[in-house]
Subunit: 262 residues, 2 copies
Amino acid sequence: MTTTPETDLAADVADGARKMALSYFRKPLAVDDKPDSSPVTVADREIEAYMRACIAAAFPAHGIFGEEQDPERLDASEIWVVDPIDGTKSFVTGHPLFGNLMAFLRDGRPVMGQIEMPALGERWQGTKGQPTLFNGAPCRTSACTDPAEALAYTTDPLLFAGDDRAVFDMLAASVRLLRFGGDCYNYGLLASGHCDLVLEIGLQPYDYLPLVQVIEGAGGVITDWDGRPLGLGSRGDVLASATPELHDRMLARLAERAPVPA
Amino acid sequence: MTTTPETDLAADVADGARKMALSYFRKPLAVDDKPDSSPVTVADREIEAYMRACIAAAFPAHGIFGEEQDPERLDASEIWVVDPIDGTKSFVTGHPLFGNLMAFLRDGRPVMGQIEMPALGERWQGTKGQPTLFNGAPCRTSACTDPAEALAYTTDPLLFAGDDRAVFDMLAASVRLLRFGGDCYNYGLLASGHCDLVLEIGLQPYDYLPLVQVIEGAGGVITDWDGRPLGLGSRGDVLASATPELHDRMLARLAERAPVPA
């Protein structure tokens, strides 16, 4: 495995973000509701500020897109995408399944991604052209090709509203086992071969772009529900699968849903 | 805090169950589907056999009710209720949120309960008349009294079928934040004051009886959806709340649902 200046920075940033997150975890924290009614805490804000400062110090010309602050230099060819706490709803309920996410994009395509789980001491890092690492060791998706055999996750069934409710019902009817919760952690489990399928909706670029290289470098596939690659402008519906065959079968079922505006 | 022969045994059993569970966790395991289509593995079976052997050696006259084997001596006035792996769906997907549960009943009422989380190194133990302990230190539920402020959990929305779907919708509409997954862990979070409300359906005695003293000893309330205490013959619908006020308010909303046969 070859490290790059970008992977080194991501690892350093995750080490710091882990310490910061744990210093706030299970402590009394004011929880504010954002305009979209998702929660945010001082921990989200301070960790994002720290991540941005680290990136700006190492790569001052790079762009930054994050959850809590305005985007910077999005016209740059190299852009970092950061989520200080993915799973803030877990974080504020003392639940250890919250993550810290980073992606590095070159010319609009994610070429590095990282899922850091502060309270679990677990980290996945994916770099284009290299095997995904789980706590430093290569990991691999399962060999599952049949939806009926798939162990599947989706974080929040309430996000499937209106016409998308039919997609949730299709998912529940298609797979062997469907579990809930988890946020970014579900994609780490997929990369390590523990589950086979994750289907979600309503994600933001800082939620899904850090997952891309983690999944692809472990042998899996991740696209939107129409099979298109994920970028900063994607809709936020995501399908991640352990194998190309499983992915194609789920895309075929998704193709039967009500049309979604592009 | 006074230990009793029963709490000492429960702690010893949990120590062993933790080691056994971790020896199987994230290893290749055949997953069988039980008649109710819930998964079971050799880990479930071997851990329950171990738990039963420990109990029988210490208290040969006591009854035992568990998930994987037939009940023994249920006419005894003292009965142990054991769940070797609560959250087998998590366990088989490499997910650390699975537990090991024990309850001790005297004359039909749970007087001791324990939630052990092998992969997280966390344990709650509740004994009648004493404060609930989290990893050996007393813990306490939150002071939340208003459903609209409550951070709530339910493991699996798919369990709310038919008329019960309206209860799920009521829960989702009542609370500040609703999260999914977690199984027994949600009740530990409640006992430690991290979340405020758990509402579930379709639980078995080995799922819910170990929770009772954990919740009550931390200041919370746990009953069925009609406010009745939980015993071996309860229906399996469970409401757990941080405070009596919050509990009463949720019971009032549950009272508006379609009638359920007693």
